[in-house]
Point group: none
Chain length 216, copies 4
DNA sequence: GATGAATGAGCTTTCATTCAT
DNA sequence: CATGAATGAAAGCTCATTCAT
């Protein structure tokens, strides 16, 4: 088929058989794992259902028993990957509840994003740039981002005016820069941790200026 | 601009014909233009050599007369796109030579990147995320980035210690965030200009802190 | 009704299990019913053994326990359908034994065929045109037709010379035309009953001419 | 894919390249011929694009160069076949213009239909029963039938009341019965010509009765 | 007997690339 | 140089059938 965005599942085929028994669960897991590995190693261009099935040690028929089409398979892989991100950011957020210190906020934000991008960066790269994700998945990513911004905004509200703008700048900056350094980088970057430290300084400097500005 | 830098993928394959005559130049230009438009409009998935030739008003045979394969074609399109970026950043850089004001530096950097990303954002998006670029092209992009960092570092050297680190943070932050807001955004972002303004504040706040730090 | 007449496509394959017990009978009946319904609703293209098993509330394994392959299943469905036709025509025939009136003959013939084609016309359509029936089934249909022709020929013998020819014309005409009007028609035909009445007139007119001809 | 009715051509692909040059024309002709032959010999189940291309002595790519999908290919084969039928019936019709003799009408009708069904009966069989024709093609067949009925009705108008009913009976009877004898028959029928003769007698007898009836 | 997960041959379709004209 | 018809490897997906449990 090639690269094209895959069409919606045909009516009557949408219901992926739910793995009720152990064998099925293992098969689905093997397919998802193989798919994620192939995607990480060979990119979207190498994401070939026949190859995935073979890598999973499963017949192509079994793959299509559980995933109505290629798109459903990437969507599930993406969904699992996002779920990890959601969990990570959630734990980062809960870990700083109650704190009023901007330093804690920035540390948690940067550290959460670093952790997020360090887990399987090749898969992350493929999913975030090459793969044509379904609207549902895109919406979920966007929701996660907006949630993070809203959370940071709430934490910033007492210290800063237009906390929404500040929160968006903080989150988008941290996210995109960490993504560049930990995911897109091809080995050029000497010490990513050093850069992350510098990033924290910048974000704090910004917050300091904004706080001063709101008080003067 | 892109003077023939087309790698022969298959060893022994004839080097692409250099368009010396007017008609040839026009043909090559038409193909590149059509390819860029298709890439911008339909993405990498729609980047089909037969379609491009048709759109260019040229036979598929002619396309392969000038480009040994598909990769060479995207590489040339990417090369031209990068050349524009190089020119833009160069002019931004020359425009601020002699100035010692960090404000001028940050303004020029952000404005240059905004201009860069505003020119044909759909093409930029495709080239920067979907398309599998050749190592040569990737290297050229990396060189451009390093050049910008070096330039900014040089400008920062009098005011800041570890100017390399500061320059990398400035350039990477401005680049990735502007990319997110002006290229990847799907209409959610209310006022990108407002955000760009906020970005400048953050970069300046960072420089202020670093300068103070280097003096204390 | 269809007593196991399932050919073993692959030589050496175990003959299908005869359902002797109640549960088995019910299972077979459910499969046949589901198959007939699917065939009527979705046509031969939708006649999918997995779907049929699901619709029958039976596992695909059970389906293959009772039917060695897909062909055996359609053959059995076809067989049952033919059996109904046989019964209908038989009763139509017995109902007119003893009568010497060509009008009674024609009425019974046409009415019998109308009844035949009105019962589950979608299934009838699929079986008579889309489905690749096995030679055995085709032979059985042919036998039924020949039987009907023979019967009508016998009734015609006293009144007509070459009664075989007349009988074949009568039966084939009535059968094919009623099939067209009651089964193949896609809603265009205004009043099928009116046309059936006209059909009777034509058949009677033919018999009248033939009778006169045989006497003159 | 199997047997399912094929989905409509994707937008942007619908335009089958028109064969402008001799080579193309020959290729298209070879594909159509091979397709028709395969359809006649192996039926719809054997109508496999790879096999057709091979039989046509052409690559599978060439087949899809001229026919956007399998359905388009059968549609074109069907269209050509119908065109022959249209021409045949038209010539049959023009050949009897001006005549007021029912005998001439019936002879022309029956002979025309016999000629129609004698040309490539296996192809005719496949197209008329197995193949899932596109709505356009079905409409064209229906139009042809209605045209024939209208024509016969017009010829009958002076002699018969409700000429529409009579015409439909005549045309449908002749069509379906001739189809049965010349196309569906599997060698059982001894002398189809003899039966066609008998069919004429029946149709004439019907017309005679209807004429008498309208006059009495 | 019953189950349903698993199989894999086979089919449709795409598109980068070639080469005879 | 230009053309565009032709190529065919490769990929997505289906479904009749099997067999371990």
């Amino acid at each position: 088929m090639g690269d094209a965005r895959l069409p919606d599942t045909k009516p009557g085929k949408a219901i992926v058989r739910k793995p009720k028994q152990g064998r099925s669960k293992a098969t689905v897991a093997a397919i998802l794992e193989a798919g994620a590995r192939i995607l990480a190693e060979r990119g979207w261009a190498g994401f070939n259902t026949n190859v995935i099935a073979e890598r999973a040690g499963v017949s192509i028929g079994s793959l299509y028993e559980y995933f109505p089409n290629k798109q459903a398979l990437i969507d599930e892989i993406a969904s699992n990957h996002i779920a990890q991100g959601e969990a990570l950011l959630l734990s980062a957020a809960t870990g700083m509840i109650g704190s009023d210190d901007p330093g804690v906020l920035v540390d948690a934000l940067v550290q959460g994003l670093v952790d997020l991008h360090r887990d399987d960066p090749r898969l992350h790269r493929a999913l975030s740039s090459e793969v044509p994700l379904s609207p549902d998945i895109r919406a979920r990513v966007e929701t996660l981002r907006q949630g993070a911004i809203a959370f940071v905004g709430q934490a910033l509200a007492p210290h800063v005016d237009t906390p929404g703008v500040a929160a968006q700048l903080l989150v988008d900056t941290a996210d995109t820069v960490v993504h560049r350094w930990f995911v897109e980088d091809d080995g050029t970057l000497a010490r990513p941790e050093r850069m992350a430290e510098e990033l924290r300084r910048m974000l704090l400097a910004y917050l300091a200026v904004r706080s001063r500005a709101s008080r003067s």
